[in-house]
Amino acid sequence: MKNEIIRIGHGSGAGLTNELIKEVFVKNFKLQSLEDGVEIENRTVVSTDAHVVNPLFFPGGDIGKLAISGTVNDVSMKGAIPKYILITYIIEEGFEISELKKITNSVQKEAEKANVKIIAGDTKVVEKGKADGLYLTTTGIGYLPKGVNLNSKKIKNGNKILINGTLGDHTISIINAREKMELSPAPKSDCASLNELVQVMLKNGNIKFLRDITRGGLATILNEVANDTQLGIIIDEENIPIKENVNAVSELLGLDPLYLANEGKLVSFIDGDENKLIEEMKKNEFGKDSAIIGKVTDEVKGVYIRTSIGGLRPLIMQDSDPLPRIC
């Protein structure tokens, strides 16, 4: 690896992160897969996740809600039903206990909503300046219903690509809150537990593969899938739901919503007819804007996007987080 120290880009979820995981972790731990959740034994799925976000409170959620929904989603993307959560707090000296209570309250509220139990945890306090207020890590445990087996290897030519709603909301809401851009109305994070939606999808469609669209955004996931499967992908810009205000801020800052993190969005590869599936998804709180956005095809190698004016261009894997530009 070039420039042998950790840079912020190594945490972007994009190319640099993959490189780091492969070079350091996969080699040492002899991992089978790079996925967030993994099936261990007796149809048990576990997943773990660390949560660092600045600011801790943002429109649409806070770090507590995020810690639960993030792990619930990681477990759910295997098709499993999440049941239990373990949580660790790393708290910076000087942190307000009232805030800690507020955050913990929202941990519990989201856990109830997602129907998971918090069963154990740990607390550490570090010296002032050694952490950014509060970090949370969560580990989730869930069970895989009979017959469910989702895997990128099951994706085939002709499969359709579906997402459950608008892209970029979470990142733009965080930037707005952190940089005090004072957009009005303030864009809201999409932070949500998708376990119910996933079960609706499994019941009503022929789902091959699921992924939550977090760091690195949709573009990174599609490239990973194209890489893993050696299949081509074309998506249609026209059909990708993006909110007007998210689009406007992204354009202003030179960011592309297709590379931005979401906290309540998933992408799914499906076979066969999608009408019933989408109809049922739209009945779920977090599936209202579900849409088919593209397909798996042998017309291209890699990932391409048809722009809304008809141009066709590659949609590449980026190495690192996009940086906001001069404005």
Partner: protein, 354 residues
């Protein structure tokens, strides 16, 4: 403003058909990096016939910022360095701010110059003010604010460039064969359409000021074709919804009050007469060059990077032997691969065949 109309497929299709009727080879330079990006992002090149060549120009502030600015920043101690995000990964002679940050240098990304001024409330702050006319008024305003509020621990390291002198250089270079310019929309909001009148007058070459929507860019191309066909070079304004003949007088006033023209160093290109704006004597307490005794000079890039040729339109990025193999956005060799407005980055992102 509703941008939807400028993305209407029917309108786009009509424009493309009109452009396709012209069969002669024609080379147009889009001066501004945001145009380069928009062309890539919309897949416009892919819609146009092969005889229409779009060449990217020097309008990428990060790309032309002298290497010695990066090197000087890496040597600053005990200050907060406030930058626009684009600058983070730009390589200097001894590494980038991103690497230095990972090793402990206090570098913060800001979204506006005023945000940098706020940082000075906590700690001595040096803001790296780079940009063309679009960004310059905000930077000048911030310096004025610092002066009026007498904020002592704030200064600006500037590399502020103006577009017309760069166009003069390009237009007088005999190796560069252009049939016309696609002129920058946002810059023109400030300087006005008339600022380009010297192009047809002195160099017999025309241009169209335009915006960043697909229809804007395609109409500009169609209009340039018409000019070439009629052998009638002139400056046209396709962006009259926000660009006027004289520009934004208030913004020009504040620029003039705080800054004065001098010769400018363009990374990869060299010295361009009268192309730079420097902080005036009255405000010199806020000039980081003076405060920290920094010397900005032209340095040859020894890395083999060909940004200079890219910025002048001599080569397109894939022609650079380092492109995509050795030089990528996360390990950039030159600034054109870093900036979101850089041509190499635009080509890497949008125009590579997989």
């Amino acid at each position: 403003m509703n941008t939807k109309n400028f993305r209407n497929p029917q309108l786009i299709n009509n424009l493309v058909e009109k452009i396709k009727q012209y069969k002669e080879p024609i080379s147009l330079m889009e001066v501004c990096g945001s145009h380069t990006m928009a062309i890539g992002k919309w897949g416009i090149r892919n819609l146009l016939p092969n005889n229409i060549k779009l060449i990217s120009g020097p309008g990428c502030p990060v790309c032309v910022t002298p290497m010695s600015i990066i090197d000087a920043l890496l040597d600053l101690k005990d200050v907060t360095i406030a930058i626009f995000g684009d600058l983070m990964r730009v390589p200097g002679e001894n590494g980038s701010l991103e690497l230095a940050k990972a090793k402990g240098l206090d570098v913060k990304i800001v979204y506006s110059p005023i945000d940098a001024l706020k940082l000075a409330e906590k700690k001595e702050t040096v803001f790296v003010g780079i940009g063309f006319e679009t960004t310059i008024p905000g930077i000048a305003y911030t310096i004025k604010q610092a002066y009026e509020k007498n904020i002592k621990n704030f200064s600006v390291l500037t590399s502020l460039k103006t577009v017309p002198p760069a166009l003069k250089l390009l237009s007088s270079d005999e190796d560069i064969n252009l049939d016309g310019y696609i002129l920058p929309g946002h810059v023109s909001v400030i300087i006005g359409k008339d600022a380009y009148n010297f192009l047809p007058k002195d160099y017999n070459i025309g241009g169209v000021v335009t915006g960043f929507e697909p229809a804007d860019i395609l109409s500009a191309i169609a209009r340039m074709i018409q000019q070439v066909k009629n052998n009638d070079p002139k400056i046209e304004n396709e962006y009259s919804r926000i660009v006027t003949n004289k520009g934004n007088i208030t913004a020009q006033k504040i620029i003039n009050e705080v800054l004065e023209p001098t010769d400018g160093i363009f990374r990869g290109i060299g010295i361009i007469p009268d192309s730079e704006l420097k902080i005036r004597e009255k405000y010199s307490a806020f000039d980081a060059e003076k405060k920290y005794n920094i010397k900005i000079e032209y340095k040859e890039d020894k890395s083999g990077c060909r940004c200079g040729d890219v910025l002048k339109g001599n080569i397109i990025p894939p022609t650079c032997p380092l492109f995509g193999e050795i030089c990528t956005p996360s390990n950039p060799i030159g600034p054109c691969m870093v900036s979101s407005e850089g041509s190499c980055s635009a080509y890497y992102k949008y125009e590579r065949i997989m």
